[in-house]
Structures are given as C-alpha cells and as structure tokens.
Symmetry: C2
C-alpha cells in the first residue's frame, strides 16, 4: 500500500494557498510552515507558525513530508536542505533558488547557456557602472541583485548623472547589475513545469500588461507571430533547463522591437502571470507544481477555451482588513472567476486577489475581467 | 466594512470538501460539523466532530455563520432550524429537504405542480400496492420513501408474486411508493442553482450512464434532440421551483422511449452528476451552491469547451485505506483531471473519487476519463 503523500510548503501566502487547493483535489496533504500567521494558509488544517530558519523547526516539519517546496525565492531553502530527512525531496533545489534569486548569478548562468538576454554587466563600483553604461549605451537599468521587484530596487538612467544618483540610492556591498534598457513591443511570460529528471511541459505564451511597474493583466494566448511564439517557448524551456528548475519556473520575456525574444528574469515558483491557468488550463500551474515536485507525470498545459484574461486585484487602502462588500457586484459580471487570497490586511498595491475570464474573445474577456476586478474594491 | 462570510456545512464528506474548496477561492470561510471524523473535511482548519443533532452543538456552530447548508438530505436541517440564530440563513430550507427526502411527498409535490412524472401511487398496504400495480400496469418499481438510492431500497416487480415478495422485503410502516417502470432511451441530469428570491440558472443537460444501478459516467452535453434538451431544462427548472430549492438542486430525469421528459428524482444539494462542472464549467456547481446560499449573484453555468466527461472512481476493496500507487499512472492519461476525496476507508463501490476530461470530442473524452479512472485502483 502506498499512502497518499504529504507536501510541505515553506510559506503561507496566496501561492501556497493555491498550491494546497490543487493538492487537496488529488488528496495530497499540504503542510504549511510560515514565520508569521499568514492569512491565506489559514483555510488549511496543517499549519505551523514558527522561526522557519531554525533547524529544530525545519527538521520535524520535513519529517513525514514526501517533498518540501518553497512558495518564494525568499523561503529558507538552504537551511531546509541542511536538515532534510533522507526520505524527503526538496524542490526546487536550493542551488536553483540561489541562482535565480541573485540577478547577477541568474543572468550569468543564462548567458553561459547561450540564452538571448539584454546586454548586461555585473558592476562592483560606480566607476565600473559608468564604464558599462557608456559601453552598453544609455539608457540603462540598474538593478539590485537581490530583492528588487515590481519597480522596487530598480532605476533607469539616461546619462552619467542619473546613473550616479541611482548608484547612491541602490548600490549594495556587491554593487549593482547594469543592463541595457530593452525597447520592446511587449512583455511575455512562459511557465515551465519540470520534473526532477528533466522532463518538462510549457504553457502557452502569455502577454503581460504592466501598469506602474506591476503586472496588471495577463492575456492568453499572446497575439504575436507564430515565429515569436515558438521562439518564446524555446527560450522559456531552455532557460528553465539552464537553472535546472523543478516544479513551476516562470520565465518573463521581452519581445524586443527588433523581433528578438530576450529573457528578462526567472522566478522559481508558480507565478502571478500563471494564475489564469486555474480556470483556463487543463492542468493549472499549481497542480503541475505539485505533480512535478512529487515527480508525478505532468498535466496538459493547454487552454480549454480559445482565450483567457487575468486581471490582478490590488489593495487600495492602508492597514485595513479587506472589505467584502464589492464581491457580490464583481460576481455579477458574466463569466468572472473571482479569487480572493484572504490576506488579513490591505495595503496600497498589495496583491489581494485576481479575476479570470475564460472565453472565445480576448477583447471581451479583458473587458469583463477588468470590470470585475474594479468592482471588488478591497 | 463588510467582513468575508463564514459558511457552515453540516457534513464532512466529498460534497462538503468540494464546497469548501470553491468557497476558499472567494475567501469564504468553510466551517464543518460532522458526527464522526470524515476524511474529506480533514483538509480544512475549521472542523467540529460532535453530536450534530444536539441543540448545544448546533447553536454555537451556527453562531457567526452567515449561512448554514447541508451536504446531504440526511443532515440535521430540522434540528438546526430550531436553534438557528436570527442573523444566520439556512439553505436549502428544512421544508425543501423534508419534501425531497421523502419520495412520496416529493412525487406528490411535483405532480401538483404539473410536472411530468412516471405514474405512481403511495401505498400503505400490500392490497393497495397490488391494486396500484394492476392499474398502472406491470412492470412496476417499488421504492422505500426514505433512504433508497443506487439500487438499495428499490425493487422491480413484473407480476403479483414478485410484488408480494418485494413488499415483504422493503415495506416500512408507511408502506412503499409504487411507480410505473419507465422504458427510457437514456437518463439525464439537470442541475439548477437557485437563490432565496427565486432567481435561478440551469446547467447544460448531462447524460448519465448507469452501471449496476450506480452513476458510472456523465457526458455533457447530452446528445439528444434540441427539443428534448429544452424540455429537460424547463422540467428541471420548474421542478426545483416547485420544491423551492435554494443552492444547487439536481433533477434526475428520464428521456422516455416515447420522447417525454419525466422527473425521476430530485436531490437538494450538489450532485455526483455535476462534478464535471469543477473542470468544465465557467462556474462549478460547488461555487454556485456557495453563491446561492449566501444570496450572491449566480455564476455562468456554461461549458468552457465543447465536451466533458466524468467517470466515477469506485472502491474495489473492503475496509482498507486507499492506496495511492495507481494515481501517477492515472495522471499520465492526457487531459485527465483526477479528484480523490480522501475517505479513510475503501469499501466496494464506495465513491472514492472521480476523473473529468474536458475536450472537443465526447468519445475521446469518455475513453480517456474511463482509462484514468480505471488506473487509480483505490
């Protein structure tokens, strides 16, 4: 008799919640460990709140788990690997997480693997950065190696003065990444589910629409040429192979004005740009993450319908609990699938939920998803 | 500020689990009450195991719930209604559950509302039953008023001797229902989601395929004439109106050989024949159940793809815990969405899970769903 497996999740936010919902369908027991009482995980029975960097917490958490996974690159994959029981798998591997979460190491790894990238330099000092920028050609983007996201920890410089000022604001002990600012037609996302042995499946190419440096909407399939679609899938799959991602790894890509597909960055986990898959795909990114980290066969990533659009629901207020009063109005939009994560506190621009509309027409789906997301008003 | 609601579920089996999974997406908190530790609910944080007929258990359970619902017609809706706090709704209403769970009252109510039914008599004694059978014409079906399902509590009689023997086996104090055996082309199912004010939506007509008096597979859309589809939807909606169902009510129907649509029976809850909706519909029966009992706008019941097939996974062994070893093989069938309920003990023919395949072609979906269900071997 083979008992049904237990999956340990380091993290208790919306990604962990959506993993656990997918796991529950298959009778995979989800066990959470988080450093504080995160709202989204509170739906589930098996949650521990404790110092998740401590060996005496990690070890008993992992005992009895068939696999442990991380909800984000900031979860303690390294400390977990040091105390991991022999019979427990840990995916993605700490090496993968370590490469991805440091933008310099990530870009260097991808460049070595021959993947198309914006031109970049890892700069330890201002002088190096000035030389790099002149060499690459302004404008450039300066990025912190760790922790930059959604417009935080980044800056664009169009000349030496702006670069100096950005350096002063952002540079850490190990400097900054200086990267060519890519002039692009659109941003794309490719999700790859990959098993420990290297077998992988690739989701349809999605177009991501940014607002204020944040993912606002995702449209699938991306309306770009067949050639660009194929190249995006190839680049996504090979980038994930290059970092040996296991589970879901997301590749954010540029379709540059010159037609090239370039890797922007990777994330070693289910991704905001893949939330549409819950409602639109034969197997969601969360189900395939669970299947991949348990080394089970991967599910079909294809769409059930011709088109899907996801729109994020961002917080609009400060330090208040979420307000459900807009939810019935949102549900009144035809075809809207409304997801609310259950975070206990609203902050401006915090990801509080999302809406997906699945249909025949991308334009109509976009309009409806936008309308429903607007009505929630968390 | 309106807080997110809490939904009390009387019952802890697979229907409650799937309601709670749908609720969690919308940040509706599910709270379970069950008389024993049912496996499926154990995924969730808020579970009580206690005597669920006792006022001192029911009252505190319902306090703080926005609505309470029942997982089945055998849950204590009546006792709950007696201690229900003023601010808590209870749906479906105990009156609806009471009418549906007694086959004589159910058929009588539907006949009064003018719905097409098999001819039937409520018989208190054997003499009445013999007279009824001769009048209706053999063969007839004898049914216990309460508790008969999946071939239990029912018998077919082709003549007086068989009827006498069936009467001896089955008759309770209040006798039996004697019903014309309908010669039918196929069995159909129509799910209706209905709000307290009477607004309702109707799911596509599904064809149910029985094996050994049990639901084996469900195909959607049913391949019957457009006229029969419309009539099935009309009959389903009006039958649910007649019993004032709130939440999901399932109408099992016959498409008789003479082309008429007849009501076989109703169920006041999400139904096995609607499990396909989780993967195939814009809003699942579980989501619409939650929305309806909270008096929220109802979701779009239409299919995302042209065809869907669900096949049940039934237990094959006796008194053993389920064995996960077949699950990876089942997941290897392209497009198979595998659901395992998490019941702690296998019994022959017990509903342990189901598989849905969504696609373009009913035949291919049926083949794949059957193949995956076969491989699970719980």
């Amino acid at each position: 008799m083979t008992p049904f497996p237990t999956l340990g999740i380091l993290g208790g936010g919306q990604l962990g919640k959506m993993m656990a919902l997918a796991a529950a369908r298959m009778n995979v027991n989800a066990r959470f460990l988080a450093p504080r009482d995160a709202g989204p995980m509170s739906t589930f029975a098996d949650c521990t709140v404790a110092d998740w960097t401590a060996a005496h917490v990690l070890r008993p958490f992992a005992e009895g788990c068939d696999a442990v996974t991380v909800e984000s690159e900031w979860a303690p994959a390294g400390p977990m690997s040091e105390v991991l029981p022999d019979e427990t798998a840990l995916w993605p591997a700490p090496g993968t997480v370590g490469v991805i979460k440091h933008k310099g190491r990530q870009m260097t790894r991808l460049r070595k693997a021959g993947l198309p990238l914006p031109s970049f330099r890892c700069c330890r000092a201002l002088d190096e950065a000035l030389a790099a920028a002149r060499d690459l050609g302004y404008p450039v983007v300066l990025k912190q190696y760790e922790g930059s996201y959604d417009g935080y920890g980044n800056a664009t410089a169009t000349g030496d003065d702006e670069l100096r000022s950005a350096w002063d604001d952002l540079a850490a002990d190990d400097g900054l990444l200086v990267e060519n600012l890519v002039s692009f037609e659109c941003e794309l996302s490719v999700l790859v589910a990959r098993r420990p042995g290297g077998e992988s499946i690739v989701y349809p190419v999605a177009r991501t629409v940014q607002r204020d440096h944040r993912c606002h909407a995702v449209e699938v399939p991306a309306r770009i040429s067949g050639e660009a679609l194929n190249e995006a899938k190839r680049v996504g799959r090979e980038a994930v192979d290059a970092v040996e991602g296991v589970g879901i790894t997301a590749a954010e890509l540029f379709l540059a004005d010159d037609g090239r597909i370039l890797v922007n960055e990777l994330a070693p986990r289910p991704h905001n740009t893949g939330h549409y898959t819950i409602d639109a795909s034969r197997a969601s990114q969360f189900e395939n993450h669970v299947r991949a980290v348990l080394d089970w066969p991967l599910g079909d990533p294809s769409l059930k319908a011709p088109a899907a659009v996801m729109v994020n629901v961002l917080g609009r207020r400060q330090h208040t609990p979420p307000d459900a009063s807009g939810l019935p109005e949102a549900l009144d939009v035809p075809g809207a699938s409304v997801h609310v994560y259950g975070k206990p506190e609203v902050r401006p621009n915090r990801k509080m939920g999302h809406v997906t509309v699945v249909g025949d027409d991308l334009g109509e789906a976009r309009e409806r998803a936008g309308q429903a997301a607007e009505r929630i008003r968390l």
